[in-house]
């Protein structure tokens, strides 16, 4: 089955999310749709899936024009979508999830689960998915859950499969396995549309690459093109993908976490005897798949986690038992994982956000009164220094792009006298250009002679940014290794397998 999008235009008010986009997915080909966040990839796929109606343009299946009123129509036409966030019910088994929505029944309206199990087994075996139809989905690793999503699409006989940012939640190993699966599906004659902004993956599997920027197709790339060339197309200017940093000038050990344990509100242990040290002028990256205790670790450092046990020392001060304000006052800068939720007040202006953590003191306040004149000057200076693209300092933070929002957060955190910088996934969801900027700022903070703790889920970021890498798995530090450690070893560690040959990097 051949799927073609011709001249798709989709507008939201004055914003043109898709501008005359053409895309052709053919059987036996993996077609990559490469673009930054906000380039219009998701809008295009929602148009294709019938969630949005295009303002102009047409969708053709096997050269015949079709109109999709909703996902049901698209599925009936043979289009399957593997969503970024899985649409699965965790307490159901694999088979139950797969038949959800079109349950097969026997005579008398009795659910025919046996048929579903058989079907799952059949598909699983033919592609080597290794999925047990009777397993409860909630118990399965993320990578396997994703396969369940794929099976779901295949059961309804999808000929065109759309993968929307599928690797965001996977470990490197799982990502590699997914690549293999995608190739198998291609070889079995399916047409695959792979939406991503990760250049490494594109280079590995793509047969054809369409690059999209600001809603427009800016060109086609070849899998053999270099990552720099592709990034330049995506961003519209030359980009430097490497993090440039000099060798770390290591100072004293000023930040020390020892035997830190933490429990969730429900009593579940989320951190288990975590110990590490960071020296002044050093970046330690906490690598690992999301949800292995990184969030809890940063929360514990900031004094936001309820039940903790152990020790966190900065410059000789014990951070455990202190509240957020006291921790910040000791000179901890914090870039939270979810900047819209924890880092910014969307309804506040850029200027107001810049003083969020210091609104009650000099130089932003005198007694009870805010010094808005000072704030204005301060904000104008920071906006310039951190290259925040906005109409002005009174623009609302919620109206900024992700990159500019992150710049505001960084500007705020880095404008204090810091003794420690903690940044959690500082480049998540950012465009290539902003990533470059954020990395520069982090390295600059390190070179100013403070310890820096970064939480990263992307292996590339971890190895490029880190002076050392601590890998976390299920609330424990599996090992602390040199950033030059082999990717495969790091990947194994992220999956919980302790690296034996790399212990020497531990200090």
């Amino acid at each position: 089955m051949k799927l073609e999008l011709r001249g798709i235009t989709k507008k939201f008010g004055a914003l043109v999310a898709n501008d005359n986009v053409n895309l052709l997915a053919e059987p036996g080909k993996i077609h990559c749709l490469l673009g930054e966040n906000g380039a219009g990839k998701s809008t295009l796929m929602n148009v294709l899936y019938g969630l949005y109606q295009p303002d102009s343009g047409e969708i053709l299946v096997d050269d015949k024009q079709v109109v999709f009123g909703g996902p049901g129509d698209a599925m009936a036409a043979g289009i399957g979508m593997v969503h970024q966030h899985f649409m699965l019910i965790p307490v159901f088994t694999v088979a139950e999830n797969v038949i959800l929505g079109h349950e097969p029944v026997r005579f008398g309206g009795i659910l025919d689960l046996e048929a579903a199990r058989k079907k799952v087994k059949e598909i699983s075996d033919s592609f080597g998915f290794d999925v047990d139809p009777d397993a409860v989905v909630g118990d399965l690793p993320v990578g396997v859950q994703q396969r369940v999503e794929i099976i779901k699409a295949l059961v309804s006989d999808a000929q065109v499969l759309i993968f929307d940012e599928p690797t965001a939640v996977l470990t490197p190993q799982e990502t590699d396995e997914l690549m293999v699966i995608m190739k198998q599906l291609r070889d079995s004659g399916k047409a695959i549309v792979f939406i991503t902004h990760k250049l490494r993956e594109v280079k590995e599997v793509a047969d054809k690459i369409t690059v999209i920027r600001l809603g427009k197709v800016v060109g086609e790339a070849k899998p053999t093109d270099s990552a720099e060339e592709m990034a330049a197309m995506m961003v519209g200017r030359a980009v430097d993908l490497d993090v440039h940093k000099r060798a770390a000038k290591l100072g004293e050990t000023t930040f020390k976490v020892s035997e830190l344990s933490a429990w969730s509100d429900t009593g579940h242990q989320v951190l288990e005897d975590v110990s590490f040290e960071i020296r002044a002028g050093e970046i330690l990256v906490i690598a690992g798949v999301q949800g292995n205790g990184q969030t809890e670790l940063t929360e514990a450092i900031l004094g936001m986690h309820g039940k903790t046990h152990g020790s966190i020392e900065l410059d000789g001060y014990q951070l455990i038992g202190k509240n957020v304000k006291q921790v910040l006052d000791l000179g901890v800068g914090f870039v939270p994982e979810d900047r819209t939720e924890d880092g910014l007040v969307a309804e506040f202006t850029i200027a107001e956000n810049l003083m969020l953590d210091r609104s009650d003191r000099e130089p932003f306040a005198k007694g009870m009164a805010l010094k808005l004149d000072y704030l204005k000057g301060f904000a104008q200076e920071k906006v310039k220094q951190f290259d925040v693209r906005a109409q002005g300092i009174t623009s609302l933070a919620g109206e900024l792009s992700g990159g500019n929002q992150q710049k505001v957060v960084l500007a705020r955190e880095l404008s204090r006298d810091l003794r420690l910088l903690v940044a959690s996934q500082p480049t998540r969801g950012l465009d290539v250009g902003s990533i470059e900027f954020v990395h520069e700022q982090i390295v600059a903070a390190r070179d100013s002679g403070i310890p820096v703790l970064i939480v990263a889920t992307e292996l590339d970021e971890a190895t490029q940014l880190g002076d050392r890498i601590a890998v976390m798995y299920r609330g424990k530090v599996v090992g602390i290794v040199d950033p030059k450690t082999d990717r495969a070893v790091l990947g194994q560690m992220m999956a919980g397998i302790t690296a034996t040959g790399s212990k020497k990097a531990k200090k």
Binding site: G13, A14, L15, V327, D342, V345, F348, F364, A390, E399
Partner: protein, 406 residues
Amino acid sequence: MTETQAKSRGQELVAQIFRGSWVLSALAVLTSFIAGGLLIALSNAGVQSASGYFVSRPLDTLTAIWNAVFGAYDALFRGSIFNYQSTTWVGMIKPITETLAYATPITFAGLGLAVAFRSGLFNIGGTGQIIFGAMFAGWVGIYVDLPFWIHFPLAVIAGVIGGAFYGALVGLLKATTGANEVIVTIMFNYIAALLLTYLLKTPILQAPKAVNPISPPVMESAKYPAFLGSDFRIHAGFIAMLLAVWGVWWLLNRSTMGFQFRALGHNPNASRVAGINIGLNYVLVMAVSGALAGLAGTSQILGTEGFLTTGVAASFGFDAITVALLGRNKPIGVLAAGILFGGLRAGAVTMQANQGVPIDIVFIVQSMIVLFIAAPPLVRAIYRLPTGEKSARKVSARKAAKAAAK
């Protein structure tokens, strides 16, 4: 560049007015008055009898409708703004002073609720906080005998403390136990009302030899001065209220405390991460909110009423919710809405006395204002305004385009 900037600012203002809220508020009020007029016409005896022969003489019905509606709203105007039928100057301007007298407690309490709403706390406890303010102020005003310059401020401060204490209690419960402030404040209203009823039946507050639950009168030395003389019910509480409008504006927009309140209201998570003490701020927000409601209580007990009864809070606690919403939680808006509600209350009496229009019509109009404000799409649909979402998206899209072009 400057020209385009000015232009876009103008466009934005227009967009903001239409998206936001001021136009919607005004339209909500207008729509409610139209609907109120419809009800007045329907319930009018003249209209009912004339409509009996509508087919033969339709003009009669229309005239009757006009007379009923015009008569009612004319009476409302005469009762609330300016009585052109009166022969004396005092009689002419009395209505507007009545309006402002009613507006005083409503606006005070409305300001209090606006502070809480802006901080993300849905304080429904205006009534209870007014009662506590009135009880504290009343006790000092009735039983403590001091010269005016000490007695009056002391009584007002007691009222502020009473309201603040009762509000802060809610904040404390929320901060320490995570209790939902909506439920707590609703329950606290009952506690305050029943406590007041009880105290008014015991010698603590009941006037000696009184049969009814009523307190002795507040001493003159504790009362808000009636700056227009004893012909008028308006008193210095009105001036204090205007000061409070400015004070709340300053608190919310120019003070460190207000900044933290607003941050908390918009995004408690980000506030927490920025080191703002959430629990402490819950207590502070509710204390400030309660203090303002307490001032509403003082304007009743030390101003218009002069003694405590179980009806001291009237319906001001709930009117204040509407007033805060109608005023979009902005001090100046709350003042405007408070005066509107004061006017409705003052005018309703004349409307009933002169035209026989039941006072309930005014309550219906007030309720409909709430309804229309709570359902902006309804008002937008009636007047075919662009939806807020769309124009908001346009604005942000324009901004994004501009930023990209730089």
